[in-house]
Subunit: 346 residues, 2 copies
């Protein structure tokens, strides 16, 4: 791991504050990466989590107090729900070593960056982080050295963070097998609201809609993998979910409204003629398959607005080799349909 | 496998029409179950699917025409999208053996039962089926002998189907490792709209909302497992999705409207005070975890309305041993919060 300053042996200590799913997985991944002369020290307010973290080898040792955990650490990783990060920063501030690099893993970044600016001393650097990874099993029990493999890891440096501090966090991201992506805190929170936080609320809404229905005893019998997957985010730690909502309310409410509009559009689609229904489903299917197979289209950066609209991208795809087969299929499909004796529904 | 009538050797033939994800998986599961003197014959309109099905051992043999595939079969499994099932029934009707048991795997049941009544000859029996299983990879490439393991398998017999025919389908469900659940076609479609078909539309809507956003180049970089899971159903075969929509429009539109209401409720929650947000998230979290851990609460049957409301169930849970820890957590959480110096958001 790169070190901004290697004049003392103590700089080889990495402290992880919060040994839940994320903190525990970071510990396991660092240990698996075999970074040499680095010791990982853990702290959690729950001693059970600390015991488990030691047992599974996510940390080399733990400390009974947060102050001794971070003391002399070259790098401090705060892996707690967003609102708790504020208190953690206040608590560790007096104990941080000169030149320490502090990072976090919180789901929102705007407040976190404000708190870091307010709470942390001038002799340390803060580089925010947010790994786009997670799983159903919360807590240290779900910890997994490969949780971050190939995941996007948002990196949000303070404007005054020196290059060396950013390099430390990039080395960490690299050790986790994740892909760093630099983003501003405002943009981060806006994008996360759309792609992660509103979907989390949507998962809750889908679950409660079914659960609160009088037909739940029957509905619950018919639950398959689709409903389970679509409601998984409702099983994330509710404290973490709460902190996301209260630190990103505006973005979440905005995207709930967008989702309501989109559902109104799909209601219209569901009520329209067969060909329109098929076109809408087929386009979504193509676009998603393309995304899942090929990933993000270009190395887009925040502020880069000069990208083809979805119509253009679809056209591009339709010329691609992979699409040839699909185009044949859709043509055949409509031919088949026009030959078949079925009556139009509704 | 049970046989309604075992006076001819030909009765030991099972025909699978449609060798996609479901048909292929049924074939693999039957073969794995080692049912003895049973031969599985497959048919698909795509010869590539037939070749692959033979290669992976999902069928013993295939036939070049649908009529020869079903001829002399004791059991015919129609595993095609719902609307195609109609044409398949018309095509196979003249070729079915006396006493044959015909079943399907379609996602909606009301239309299928009507078509079976209209198309199939009196000397065969129809017992509708719908396995509540699926996965991202469509087609024979995704076929998996364990796809149905522990899944609910809806069984929808025609009113005039003899016991022997129902027993054949139950034996099939058993061979797949699934759990049979008897349900009326109307009820099936209503429940499926809530728990499966509207969620499928919701997956499409969530994907297109993000995909059609100007920020998609950035949003796509931030996609994590949550967004992928929540949009997975949009990658199902669009023809299958279309058939679901056009044979269950009313139910889907009804549940889209319910979902819009539920989203409006969650928008209010997201805008309310911290404790209200937490209570809503916490209750959804408890209820979902309880469901995932313990499954459906009781052996509910269609029409069984005498079930506790969600408030009562929550109270039950709160007295349970597992809840004790959680209750301590929430108490501790609010204590911690009231002690911490954080300001209220917004």
């Amino acid at each position: 791991m790169a070190e901004p300053n290697n004049n003392t042996k103590a700089r080889q200590k990495i402290a992880i504050v919060g040994l839940g799913l994320i903190g525990g997985s970071i510990g396991l991944a660092i240990k698996k990466a075999n970074l040499g002369n680095v010791s990982v020290v853990g702290y959690d307010r729950e001693s059970a989590a600390m015991n488990k973290a030691r047992r599974v080898g996510a940390v080399d040792s733990t400390e009974g107090s947060i102050s001794s955990a971070v003391r002399d650490a070259a790098c401090v990783i705060i892996a707690v729900p967003v609102m708790t990060a504020r208190r953690v920063m206040e608590e560790i501030a007096p104990h941080l070593a000169e030149g320490a690099v502090v990072t976090d893993t919180g789901s929102t970044k705007l407040k976190v960056m404000e708190w870091a600016a307010d709470s942390l001393p001038d002799h340390v650097s803060f580089v925010g982080g947010h790994p786009m990874a997670g799983k159903e099993t919360a807590g240290i029990d779900g910890a997994d050295a490969d949780l971050f493999r190939d995941a996007t890891y948002c990196v949000v440096p303070m404007p005054d963070a020196p290059d060396g501090a950013v390099q430390v966090v990039l080395a960490l991201v690299n050790a986790l097998g994740a892909r760093p992506w630099f983003v501003d805190p405002e943009e981060h929170d806006r994008y996360a609201a759309a792609i992660s936080h509103m979907p989390m609320v949507l998962a809750n809404a889908l679950f409660t809609m079914a659960r609160d229905s009088r037909a739940w005893p029957e509905l619950s019998r018919m639950v398959g993998p689709g409903f389970k997957d679509m409601t998984r985010l409702a099983s994330q730690d509710p404290e973490m979910q709460l902190d996301i909502v209260i630190t990103n309310r505006e973005g979440i409410v905005h995207w709930i409204e967008r989702m309501q509009e989109e559902l109104a559009r799909w209601k219209e689609i569901a009520e329209s003629d067969e060909e329109s229904v098929f076109q809408a489903l087929y386009k979504a299917n193509l676009d998603r398959d393309d995304f899942i197979l090929n990933g993000p289209k270009e190395p887009a950066r925040p502020g880069d607005q000069n990208v083809p609209g979805s119509g253009e991208q679809l056209a591009d795809m339709l010329f691609g080799a992979r699409m040839t087969h699909r185009t044949r299929e859709i043509t055949k499909f409509f031919e088949d349909r026009s030959k078949s004796p079925r009556r139009r529904e509704r």
